[in-house]
């Protein structure tokens, strides 16, 4: 079963050649690896390759079971598994890149402390749309371009999740 795995900008083709207990032969692009792989603690894999010991801690994305954050001692890499199903979905997907800025969201959970704008307001670049507080620190979210407030989805005092859309622009 050869599948495509994306890591940063790189697209790697991965194929399992053989498996014998924990001993595995696997091909990544044009390189063949003989490794000994074992799951140690949950989500932590130990890989031995030419006697070198690698530890990989995997955290699956909470909203996408094919996306991982993989951490070594020194670094964290984002990895996406692109199997046949995912490839099909990707080909169908419209380009959803945020042309300009279409919505305001917070990367962290928190509490909305202030919304100094209202629906229909016209804003200048750099104007603050919403203030969110978490752990004694307030963050102001501003618009990057001239725009109009299409909708405000939360109220002052609301508790919001990470990556939740707060305000829609047009």
């Amino acid at each position: 079963m050869a599948i495509e795995i994306h890591i940063g900008e790189r697209v790697a083709n991965v194929e399992l050649l053989s498996i014998d207990g924990n001993k595995v032969q696997i091909q990544i692009d044009d390189k063949t690896y003989d490794v000994d792989i074992s799951m140690i603690e949950h989500g932590v894999y130990s890989i031995l390759h030419q006697n070198k010991s690698y530890n990989m801690e995997l955290v699956k994305s909470s909203d996408d079971s094919k996306k991982y954050d993989v951490s070594t001692l020194y670094n964290t890499m984002g990895i996406e598994i692109v199997d046949v199903h995912r490839k099909y979905m990707k080909s169908r997907q419209k380009d959803d890149i945020d042309e300009g800025q279409e919505k305001i969201f917070t990367p962290m959970p928190g509490k909305v402390v202030k919304i100094p704008v209202k629906k229909g307001d016209k804003l200048e670049p750099g104007q603050t749309v919403i203030v969110v507080e978490a752990m004694k620190m307030q963050s102001e979210y501003k618009v990057k371009r001239e725009c109009k407030i299409k909708d405000i989805l939360v109220n002052e005092g609301d508790t919001v999740e990470g990556n939740q859309t707060l305000v829609v622009l047009e």
């Binding site: 799951m39 951490s71 070594t72 020194y74 752990m135 620190m137």
Partner: protein, 504 residues
């Protein structure tokens, strides 16, 4: 004798206090907000009382709820920890009225030290050096300009009730002065409800060095040497060490004496900390006194072999200090790093969320004071500090090597932390040489925020292999075997077995 202590706090400091209580055979009462039901201090305590909704202002900061919790549980003493109500003289007064022992100084000392102008006046009277400046609230332009002329520019305008950098202005010349005073006053009024401001000489490249004080009820007051706290970000300490690389035995003696005098001048009882600014010429100036336990108290415990919370409780019980000044000798070197749930690469934005997996460093010379566990959700309402990582070793060099080792051993997944940022500090030559002041982070921020070096292809390939196997394992697992505790133990082993290979 105290039999049951209510800890008016949460997180790691609540746990830390309870540990010493348990060792002394004292029962513990936790208080918790509605957001903290699953916080470790609740299950670690003997008893627990809910004191209100999630926001601190509606729970941890409500004196009446704390007192009520004491009454419900029959606690005969309160330990306030740090932060929250720890420097609130009203709580201490209320305790006196209710015949509950407040583990801390008397309200008198807290009031004297709580207001900066009053504290300055008290210190000047006690002969403790303060930063040259004014003793009174600045009210007229003439008064301000005359004072500034006498002190010499640059100067700092500071709010009397201030803290955390609010109501503070750096002024370089007479032209800017009065506007700066007015701005500071307005900010002070809106932040602290008090527009009193004063003026201090601006100290260039200052070191933040503090002395730990212990005083019993019989007038015995000693210092427990210094802590160097100059590694700060936005006026918040992130790394502390002891001894200070700047310190000399002579300076330690005179500063220690000044700290003792500062404490005696307000009839201080209990554990407290006198903070100083020290310049490159080793001139030192009283900054403020914290009338409570400090976050960084464990480094003092590490080099002296003393349990400060036990001493606090013994003092509250009316016991005499068990040691004299001459017994206090630092051994080795200790460093503390504050582990915070924050994203260093995104302007240190807090990163609350669910901890997927924690693996804490162990072995020789390391102490971890933390309160998080696998599956714990860090609430958004409180401080982002989730752990204190403390090491001790025979020398400063060994202590830095040890701190690097334990920072690499510390793994927390699911949220972002500042562990990587702290690791980089350990490699900055100025830190390694001990040549730094409070501008350290600022000075090296570019190096510290440089993105981590590119991963080697080989490492990437190993990561790909791990992700690949996790993916296909989940595919093959049609009926996940969930064990009693909701864990699928040794799934990989199971996988191996299904493939017909039995690992011994």
């Amino acid at each position: 004798m105290i039999k049951k202590i209510l800890i008016a706090n949460r997180g790691e400091i609540a746990m830390r206090i309870m540990r010493s209580c348990r060792e002394m055979g004292i029962k513990t009462v936790a208080v918790f907000s509605e957001a903290d039901r699953t916080s470790k201090h609740v299950s670690f305590a003997d008893e627990a009382v809910c004191i209100g909704p999630a926001p601190s202002k509606e729970s941890y900061l409500i004196i009446d709820n704390i007192i009520e919790a004491c009454k419900i549980t029959g606690a005969d003493a309160i330990h306030p920890g740090y932060g929250f109500l720890s420097e609130n003289a009203s709580l201490a007064s209320k305790c006196q009225k209710e015949k509950i022992i407040f583990i801390g100084p008397k309200p008198y000392a807290m009031c004297k030290m709580g207001d900066k102008i009053t504290a300055r006046q008290t210190m000047i009277a006690a002969g403790v050096p303060v930063v040259p400046g004014t003793k009174e609230n600045l009210t007229t332009k003439e008064q301000a300009e005359a004072a500034a002329k006498k002190i010499g520019f640059p100067i700092m305008v500071k709010a009397s009730s201030g803290g955390g950098g609010k109501g503070m202005r750096l002024v370089k010349n007479t032209k800017e002065l009065w506007d700066a005073v007015l701005a500071a006053k307005s900010e002070a009024l809106s932040s602290f409800g008090d527009d009193a401001v004063y003026m201090e000489k601006y100290i260039k490249s200052p070191h933040h060095i503090e002395f730990q004080i212990l005083a019993d009820k019989f007038g015995n007051t000693i210092h427990l040497c210094e802590r160097e706290c100059s590694v700060q970000r936005r006026h918040q300490k992130i790394i502390e060490e002891t001894p200070s690389p700047l310190m000399t035995p002579e300076l330690r003696e005179v500063m220690g004496l000044a700290a003792i005098n500062a404490a005696k001048s307000v009839k201080y009882v209990g554990a407290g900390t006198v903070e100083f600014l020290v310049d490159d010429n080793l001139n030192y100036y009283f900054l403020e006194m914290n009338t409570r336990l400090q976050v960084e108290h464990p480094i003092t415990e590490k080099v002296l072999g003393i349990d400060l919370v036990k001493e606090q409780i013994n003092i509250a019980n009316g016991k005499k200090l068990p040691f004299k000044q001459s017994d206090i000798v630092q051994r080795g070197h200790a460093i503390e790093c504050r582990i915070c749930a924050e994203d260093a690469y995104n302007d240190f934005m807090p990163s609350p969320g669910i901890i997927k997996h924690v693996s804490e460093p162990k072995g020789i010379g390391v102490r971890v004071d933390s309160y998080v566990y696998d599956g714990y959700e860090i609430p958004i309402y409180y401080d982002p500090m989730i752990a204190k990582l403390v090491v001790r070793a025979a020398s400063r060099k060994y202590a830095i090597e040890r701190m690097k080792r334990v920072l690499y051993e510390y793994r927390i997944s699911g949220i972002k932390t500042n562990i990587g940022f702290l690791r980089k500090i350990m490699d900055i030559p100025d830190f390694v040489k001990g040549k730094y002041d409070t501008h350290f982070i600022e000075k090296h921020i570019d190096t510290l925020l440089k993105p981590p070096r590119a991963t080697k292809t080989l490492t990437e390939d190993m990561a790909i292999i791990a992700a690949y196997f996790d993916y296909i394992m989940n595919l093959e697992e049609n009926t996940p075997k969930t064990s009693a505790e909701g864990r699928a133990i040794n799934r990989w082993k199971e996988f191996g077995k299904r493939k017909g290979v039995l690992r011994i």
